[in-house]
Structure formats: structure tokens, C-alpha cells
Symmetry: C2
Subunit: 245 residues, 2 copies
Amino acid sequence: MNKLYVVGLGPGGASCMTQEAMDALREADILCGYTVYIDLVRELFPDKEFLTTPMTKELERCRLALSRAAEGKTTALLSSGDPGVYAMAGPVLSMQKDFPDVEIKILPGVTAALSGAAVLGAPLMHDFCVISLSDLLTPWEVIEKRLRAAALGDFVICIYNPASRKRPDHLKKACRILLETKSKETVCGLVRNIGRDSETYEILTLEELSGRQPDMFTTVFVGSSKTQVIDGRMVTPRGYETKES
Amino acid sequence: MNKLYVVGLGPGGASCMTQEAMDALREADILCGYTVYIDLVRELFPDKEFLTTPMTKELERCRLALSRAAEGKTTALLSSGDPGVYAMAGPVLSMQKDFPDVEIKILPGVTAALSGAAVLGAPLMHDFCVISLSDLLTPWEVIEKRLRAAALGDFVICIYNPASRKRPDHLKKACRILLETKSKETVCGLVRNIGRDSETYEILTLEELSGRQPDMFTTVFVGSSKTQVIDGRMVTPRGYETKES
């Protein structure tokens, strides 16, 4: 059977990948992905064939990977984080019908919500939402509706794509919406370059966050009403703590 | 420096752990956790010291692990999935003040939302919520409020702890709330025993889901209004697809 693995690399280099993801890369004849992700693993697999496409050519990349798999070459399509979160798993599965002889296997990875949370402390210990502020593929009104609903439900909110070159003020607009219902003092966190040597983080209030202009390598966390700063870490209590006292 | 690693095992055995999680277990003198999780790795590390506690003794387990780390033994506290999602990262960080000489490092893992999604297809390709139906530590009214908010925002919803022995009808109650606003035909998914040999999954409608009584080893996915069944997989379009056509 021809095989296409859709593989999550996690946040950084090889150390954040799962064993099964690493095994899939080893097994594959061809490694396919956005240039920056391929560069993360190129040195580990000098003898593989590499197929790279620019960032905006997502569908082309999926079709290319499926075509090569259909020719009989075991192929791995790489995403950073998890391929099932704002990434390649969906488009690939939508093309399955054109490549009936290819078996598609999705190998999950640690998405930025989880890896960023681990850097900040434990913000996702209770119910949470993940929302992307990119309006490239989603109308801004839908994003606004989801931000309002997330605030209404008092979820912890993890924000992907807080800014882009064309829309530097998305996070400011999002914070303004959240501030309609959430306290200015809500505990928030920013993590940049997760899993890289240049990783940095900051814990701040929602009011402070509304004045920031993070770049596209930043993941943003907005606490629930229960989220606290404990010893310099962002922690949302699960409830065990109150049970004990 | 004394070290405590809070380690996510991912969904199943060693193949789903990250390299850095595996390295932490190798480095540790003591592996501490709920008996069932320790059993997943016991064979790999026959020479370690093991500390196991029953499922309900979460805080005791955290304090035990911190105490042993404070004595100078490098200790790893194991969670299934991700330690930062309804697990041990929060309680441990809340106890940091009592153990100032212990450096706590959270090593994330693939939580059931991600591993379950990979089994079903690609349900989490767009904005999503994670909600636990356990009312052991959370008032049921809060859970209801979040379910309503998640439906209002048309999020994909991933449900943890859909049932317990004492409360077998939680999922039914949750579905009834979601059906106030969501279509009966909403695409849903169930995954049981993720990452084990006995793993099974099912794709069904929200109306069908409301008649099921899954066990505590099941993770439930409720689609957004856009979620589809494509070639037998549960897929939420990201939007690339419409961009192409």
C-alpha cells in the first residue's frame, strides 16, 4: 500500500517530536513541507529526497505529497506543531478521493497551545478555547463572534496567529472585545519562538496585552477569571487545590 | 539543583512520547505516578525507583514527588496525555512555594484532543474548545454555561470525561444543551482507548451521540456547523479548500 504520513514536528527540533513521528520520517523516502520545517530535520536525514514549497502554497504541497505517495514513494508531509490544528491534515484528507490508493496516516504532535502552556506554567488546566486571529480564510466577524463566546463562557483562551504583516492590530482588536466582559486584570501570557534557543515569555494583564503588537511567532494566552500568577507562573487552578484546603 | 520533571506520556505507550519526555524518564532516579501510567513505562526502566498512588490521590502524589526531588533525587511525575491539560502541572506549580529548592520543568505531551482528532481525521482544523464534563471539581452550572457558549461560538468541541460511574448521563445532558442551538445532523466522533491496541472510533450525528453512554476512556468530538464527513473521516475545513475552487 502506498503511504502518506502527515507528521507533526511539535514546537521545535527533533527533541519535541514523538517517537512514532520520528519513525515515520525514518521510513519515508520523501520528506515534504514548508522550507522552514524541512530545515529543522534536514541534517538528521541527509539521504532523503526533500520537496519544499513556500508557506502560502498549502494545497499545492498536499497534492504534491499525495502524488509522490501514489507513485509508490512513502512520503511524509511535515507540519510544525500538530498537523490537525490549523495545518495540513484537513486539506490532505479532503483530497483522498483523488488518490484512492494512498493510505493517509495522521501522526499528531505537540501544538503551540500545549508547548506554550508548559513554558508559562499551567494555564490550560481547565476548559479552554483555541482561536486563530488570521482572517485570511475566516471572516473577521466569525472571529469576533468566537472571542465573545469564549469570554462569555469564561474559558482560558489560546490565540494563534495574533498578528500578520498586513494586519498588525488584530490582537488589539481582540483584546478590546475581550475587555467588554473580562477584567482588565485578567492574567495573560505571551510565548515567542517556542522550543527554540531564542524562546521568551512574559506574563502580563489583559490591559497590558492590549497594548502589545506581537509577531507571527508568538502564541498568546488569556486566562479565565480563575487564572492566577503563582511564583511567576501562569496557573489556572483545576480545583484540587480548593478540595484540599 | 534538585529537579522535578512533570512529564506527558501522550495517548499510549512509549511511541507517543516526545524525545525530551523520554530523556527525562531516563535521567530521573524516581518515576512517580498513577499506577496505570507507571505500568506503561515500567518495563522500559526496570532499574528505577517507582512511586505509585491511586487515581484520586492527585495532591498527595504531587507533594510526594516534590518531597523526593527536594531530597536530591531527580524525579519524574507522569501524566497520560499532557500534564498541563486537566492534570498535574497546575497542582505541582501551586506547591512550588513549599519546595523552593526544586526546579520544576513541565514537558508537554500529546493530549487526547490531538491524538483522538488524528484517529477521526481532522476535526480540529479550525477554532475549538476543550471541555470536561466531570463535575467532581467544577459545578455543573459552569459546565452548562461553557457548553452553551461553545455552541454559540460554533466552535468544534472536544469533550473530556464524558461519563463517570456515578454520573453515566452527563453526555446525554450535554448533548441536550448543544441541541438547543446546534443541528441534529452535526457531525460528531467518539474515540475509545486512544493509542492502545483496543482503539476504536465511530463517526455519528449529534442526535445519535445523545443516545450513547460512553465510558471514561472515551473522548468525544462535536463538530462545528462546517464539519463534514469526507471519505469516512471527520474533517472541519480550514478554508483553503474553498480558496482553491
